[in-house]
Amino acid sequence: MIWPIDEITNIAVKSAHNNKPYGIAVIDIDYMIRFCRAFTNEELNMIKENFLCFFKEMFPNNSKIWQSSGDEFLILIPKIAKADAFQLTDRIRRVFKRNKFAVNTDRAFKNITFSFSAGVAAYPQDGDNVEEIIRRATIALFLSKAFRRNRVYPAPDEGQQGVDRILAMPDGKIHVLAGKYGEIGDFSVPIKCQEARFWEPQAIDIDEEGNLYILDQNNHTVLKYNGENVYRVAGDGYYGYTGDGGDAALARLNKPTGLAISKRRLYITDTGNDAVRVVELDSGIIKTIAGTGETGYSGDGAAGYLATLNKPGGAAVDLDGNLYINDIANNVIRRVDKKGIITTYAGSGEYGFKDECRAIDASFAEIYGICTDKTNSNLYIADYFNHCIRVVDYNTGIVARVAGTGECGYKGDGEDPLKACLNRPVAVTSDIHGNLFIAESGNHCIRMIAAATGKIYTLVGDGVYGIGESEEVSKFRLANPNGLAVDNSFHLYILDGANNRICMMDYSQIIAFGKVL
């Protein structure tokens, strides 16, 4: 836990005396890492001090404020009901985004503005102890970040177990492999898997030998789990844009968010640097394959490293070695072919839903995870705000929907996936049998389209966020799952994003019986 729980508990206990309510807001300054590159450390400290002064002025006098070593704040507001704490924090957000916090720096851009995302939870609605209330406020913070930031979310009420779900493997088991909710760590030395602690991991993938790679965003690193230890393979743990031509483990990345591995090459979408880096796993050498480090949308038809991108996110590689990059802020998918030439592969750039047309003419509503299937026939796309999975057929170049009606919801298990409702799908992957797995951040679940039946089912999760502890799949809950990977032995790895951990489930019984249920 990054917050001093004992100290917060002491104050909260006093606030909760005589059953008085209190609220907790967990605030994260949006995209602070981008500003880190623009200011000196001294200026950044001054800006952070200005944030603190602002919060002191805006929150009631009896509030208590803690600041993390980074850009997060925890504010305990005594004697306030949840709805009021939410309303107050949201009002403060609206003032915050208009205030000028860098005005006392001597910069041409000193009038820039900042925004924040926040989650709010309260005693007694959200729990009877501080740790639980902070946990729920943090989950709400993740929700506000998932909805494009610059917003405040109240902790959602604990719901009932999803009544509409049909579990593909009701008696299945799931295990927590690494990471723990509320604990963050670093990887200056290799560490045993069970002891590994991540900091907002964003993506996972598996190489041909079955090693798991983990993209640990706030540690600016890519980690490898070799079955025993977890250790860095790219990024030295600090943000920056350095190291091309040298040892990847000594290079610097900036808030990377996506990765893909194929044929001993590790591709990393270096989101904060608007670039895609590639590591030759045999030599350990890193270089830039796409992007110049400048933000933009240019360079199609020429070498990838001369092009500009705008916040590259998900990545996938087909069996021919072509790389696909989700160019998030440009709302398109770029492709870097084997010769290193970049083109726009899918998306007109327009925000919307245009389907059953040439991929290049299609429109999307924020693309997150992408994957190529194991038969090298299709590129699958998690279309976040269209609440569906799209597919581009490599042979015809036509895009079509494969799951989700477009309506946000949680229904349709046991039926044709085209008639099912999804809620903000964020990651997608497939196995050698053609089963497709979908991580839905809004439903906090993993769905599966079973190749044997063509129907959609739930593998784990029930539409309500939580920190699953039991090994029973039927009782296990996730919080904002945001990454998936499968190995050839039918192990599904799940990045349980808001819980800062990786879970694993063996789904071989589905394969053994040739059917679900």
């Binding site: 002025e57 805006m58 009002r91 609206r94 003032v95 985004k97 208009r98 205030n99």
Partner: protein, 83 residues
């Protein structure tokens, strides 16, 4: 949207509610410079957000500078421009 007079009066009430000094509240007029009341930029922005809620408008950040919110009349003009 309220009448011109209503807008000014409502904004005056919001501004007055943020002042502690009784003398300043009594002397508050539509063209009183907010800076002279000890209202700094953060407080001015807080008042702006309250005004947005009162009149159910959202002022574009691009329309904001201290010249446009330096007194109650300016605030009213800004709100009216969103009518």
């Amino acid at each position: 949207m309220s009448s011109n007079y209503d807008i000014e009066e409502k904004i005056k009430k919001i501004v007055a509610s943020r002042l502690k000094d009784k003398e300043k509240i009594e002397g508050l007029d539509y063209d009183t410079p907010l800076l002279s009341l000890g209202i700094d930029s953060i407080l001015a922005l807080s008042i702006l957000v309250e005004i947005e809620d009162e009149f159910n408008v959202e002022i574009n950040d691009g329309d904001l500078n201290m010249d446009r919110i330096k007194n109650i009349s300016n605030f009213s003009d800004l709100v009216r421009s969103y009518n």
